[in-house]
Symmetry: C2
C-alpha cells in the first residue's frame, strides 16, 4: 500500500505566538470578571508555562478570533457577552460550515476516490462534510468517520484505509482511499479556565486540514507503508483526556506525558519492530523520525531515549515551530513536508510516532519513494 | 470472515411503552413551565405521532429516569431543577461510568481479542471504556473508535474489522476482532423540545449493548460474511441529522425517511448484488431480511418494495416490538436473535439493511452457519 497525493490547506488566520499569548491573557482577564489577575499577570503565567515563540513561532486558525481584540467581533469568544464563548451547538455549526468549505476546496481539483475517511476529534456532525461532498462524485464513494481518537488519529485511519483496499471479495474492488483530516482545535478553548494546565493547552494547539490518498498503485511521489503498530501504556489513563463537555471538547493533559512516553518509547519500538522483522539499530542510524510534535519536550524525550541525532527529528521540530500542534492533522503535514524535502532522498525509511489518550502510542514505518 | 460469539447485555430498566409515553408527557408538561399544554394534551400528541405499544411493547434503558415520577430522583432529567436535564458534561460522565461497567461485565467471561472496535454515537470519552478494558488483557489489544455514524454504525465497523484481519504484512497477524456497541440513546432526550418530530424520536429510541467477534476461523455458531455495501442517497441530506449540541446530541428526523429509503431500496439492492455476482430474485424468495427496525414504517417500505413475505421481515418487527430502536446496537441484536432461532436453518442467507444520516443506506449479505 502507498500514500501520496498530499493536499494541505493553510488556514487563513496566521497569528504570531506572542500575539496569541497576548490575546489569551486578555481573554482570561475578561472572562474572570477582571478581578482575579491583571492581564499582565496572565501574560506572565502564559509565558512561564506555555509554549514560547522560540518553540512555536506562529499558529494558523480557521477561526478568526485569536488575535482579535474587538471582542464584539469575536465569533466563538465574545467574552463580554459569554465568558466561555458561544455554545457547543454554535461551535459545531461553525465547524460544519468551515469544514464543508474545506472539502469543496479539496475536491474542486481532486479526483474522487472509492472511499473517503474523515478524521477529526474537533467536530461531530452527521451527515458530515465528507458525506455531503461524496454526493458530488460521479461514482459512489463510501464514507467512514474516524472520530474522537485525538492526536494519533492518522494511525487508526491508515489501518482502516489499508483494510478497505484489501477486501475485494467482501467490499468490492477499491483502488483508492482518501484520508481527510479537519481539526479546528481553536473551537475548543475555554477562556474561563485559567489553570496552568489549560494555559499549556491553549498555547500549543492550532488548526489544520490535509488530505492524502492510500492506493494499491504506486504514486509518482509518496511513501510505501511497511508496518503500523499501536499500544496503550499501562497506568497512564489519567495523563490525558478528551471528552465532549458543556462549552466544547475538554482536554486534560499532565505535564508528565513527555516523560511517560519517553521512558516507554524504546521498549515499544523494540517490541514492535522485532515481531515484524525490522532491525531497530539500523533504523536508529539511518531513518528519519517523524515524531508527532505534541509539544517541544516529547521530541526531546523520543530523541534522547532512542539516541537519535538532531537531524533525525529536525523535521518534527520545524513543523512545531511553523504550525503548532494541529492534533491528528500534524503527522500528515509532517509527511507532506518530508515528501517535498529534496534533502530526504528516495529510499529513506521513516519511523513515525503519535501519542494520545490512553496513553496510546502509535508507530509506523514507511519508505519514501 | 465469520461473525460469532454474540454477547448482549439487557439494560436493567425495563419500561412499558405506555409507561414511557406517560412519563414523557409529564416531562414535557413540567419542562414547559406547566403552561403550554396539560399533561393529558402531551400524552394525546405522543399517542398520535409516537410509536404505539402495538409497535413497541417496551424499551430497556441504562438510565433509570424514564418512568421515574419522583423528579428529584432523576439522574439526567431533574426537570424541576433543570428543564433540559443535566449538562452535556454530566451526561458524558454518566455514559462513561455505565459503559465502563458494561465492558467489565463483557470481558469478565470473554477472552480478549487482538483488536477491539468500540461503536457508539451516544458518548465520546477518551480514553474510552474500550481503551481502559484493553489494558486488562494479557496480550496487547489494538482499540479503534467507530463513532458518530448513527443507526448504520455496525456496517463501517464490520468494514474496519474485516480490514484489520486482512493486513498481516502491515498490521501483524490478527485472529479476532471484537465489535462492541454501547448506545445510551436515553441520555440525549430534551424534554424542552416538544415538537411532534421530537416526540416521534422520544417514543422510538432505547438503549442497547452487544459484543460480537469477527474472525478468520469459523466459529461453532455464527455467520459467514459474503458482501458489504454502502451508498448515500442524493437529495436526502436534510432528512436526518445527528450532531453534538448543547444539552446532548441533537437529532432531526423527517417523517419522509421511510418512503425515501423505500423508493430507493430496490435499485440500491440490484446495483449492489449485480456488481458482486449475487442473484436478487433468488434471495427475494429464500433469504431472511434483517432490516434495521428504525421504525415500523421502514420495515413496511422495504418489504413492500422488495415484494417480501411477512415471514421474511418478521424478526425485524419482533425485535422492534421487544426492544425499540437501539441505534447501531439494533442490527447486531437482530443477528443474535436469528442465530438463536432454531426455525432459521443453517445455510440460510441473510440480507441486512441499515439506514442513517446522509441518508446512508448499508447492505450486508451473510450466511448462517
Amino acid at each position: 500500500m502507498y500514500l501520496g497525493k498530499f493536499h494541505s490547506i493553510e488556514p487563513p488566520y496566521q497569528v504570531s505566538q506572542d500575539a496569541s499569548l497576548d490575546w489569551l491573557s486578555t481573554a482570561h482577564h475578561l472572562a474572570q470578571n477582571e478581578q482575579s489577575h491583571t492581564k499582565e499577570e496572565y501574560l506572565k503565567m502564559l509565558h512561564r508555562v506555555g509554549c514560547s515563540s522560540q518553540q512555536i513561532q506562529q499558529r494558523y486558525f480557521f477561526v478568526p478570533d485569536v488575535g482579535e481584540h474587538d471582542w464584539s467581533q469575536n465569533k466563538i469568544y465574545p467574552i463580554p457577552v459569554s465568558k466561555r464563548g458561544v455554545s457547543m451547538h454554535h461551535r459545531h455549526e461553525y465547524y460544519h460550515k468551515i469544514v464543508q468549505d474545506l472539502f469543496k476546496q479539496i475536491y474542486d481539483t481532486r479526483a474522487y476516490p472509492d472511499d473517503m475517511i474523515h478524521v477529526s476529534c474537533t467536530g461531530y456532525v452527521s451527515p458530515s462534510a465528507a458525506q455531503l461532498i461524496a454526493l458530488k462524485s460521479p461514482k459512489p464513494v463510501t464514507v467512514t468517520h474516524s472520530y474522537h481518537m485525538g492526536c494519533y488519529g492518522a494511525f487508526p485511519a491508515l489501518r482502516m484505509a489499508a483494510g478497505f483496499l484489501a477486501n475485494e471479495s467482501i467490499l468490492g474492488e477499491k483502488r483508492s482511499v482518501d484520508l481527510v483530516h479537519t481539526e479546528l482545535c481553536s473551537l475548543h478553548l475555554n477562556p474561563e479556565e485559567s489553570s496552568l494546565e489549560q494555559m499549556v493547552i491553549q498555547s500549543l494547539f492550532a488548526d489544520g486540514c490535509i488530505a492524502y490518498r492510500m492506493s494499491h498503485a504506486q504514486p509518482d511521489a509518496g511513501f510505501k507503508i511497511l508496518s503500523l503498530y499501536e499500544e496503550i501504556i499501562p497506568d497512564t489513563a489519567d495523563a490525558m483526556e478528551w471528552m465532549v463537555s458543556d462549552w466544547g471538547m475538554k482536554m486534560t493533559l499532565s505535564k508528565d506525558v513527555p516523560s511517560m512516553v519517553g521512558t516507554k518509547i524504546r521498549e515499544f519500538t523494540e517490541r514492535w519492530l522485532k515481531t515484524r522483522g525490522y532491525d531497530l539499530s539500523k533504523l536508529q542510524k539511518n531513518a528519519l523520525f517523524a515524531v508527532h510534535p505534541g509539544g517541544p519536550k516529547i521530541i526531546d524525550q523520543v530523541a534522547h531515549h532512542l539516541e537519535l541525532k538532531d537531524s533525525q527529528v529536525e523535521a518534527s521540530r520545524r513543523l512545531l515551530h511553523r504550525r503548532g500542534n494541529m492534533s491528528s492533522a500534524t503527522l500528515p503535514h509532517l509527511w507532506e513536508s518530508i515528501l517535498h524535502d529534496d534533502n530526504v532522498p528516495s529510499g529513506t525509511q521513516i519511523i513515525s510516532y503519535a501519542f494520545g489518550p490512553g496513553l496510546t502510542v502509535c508507530g509506523g514505518l514507511m519508505e519514501k519513494l
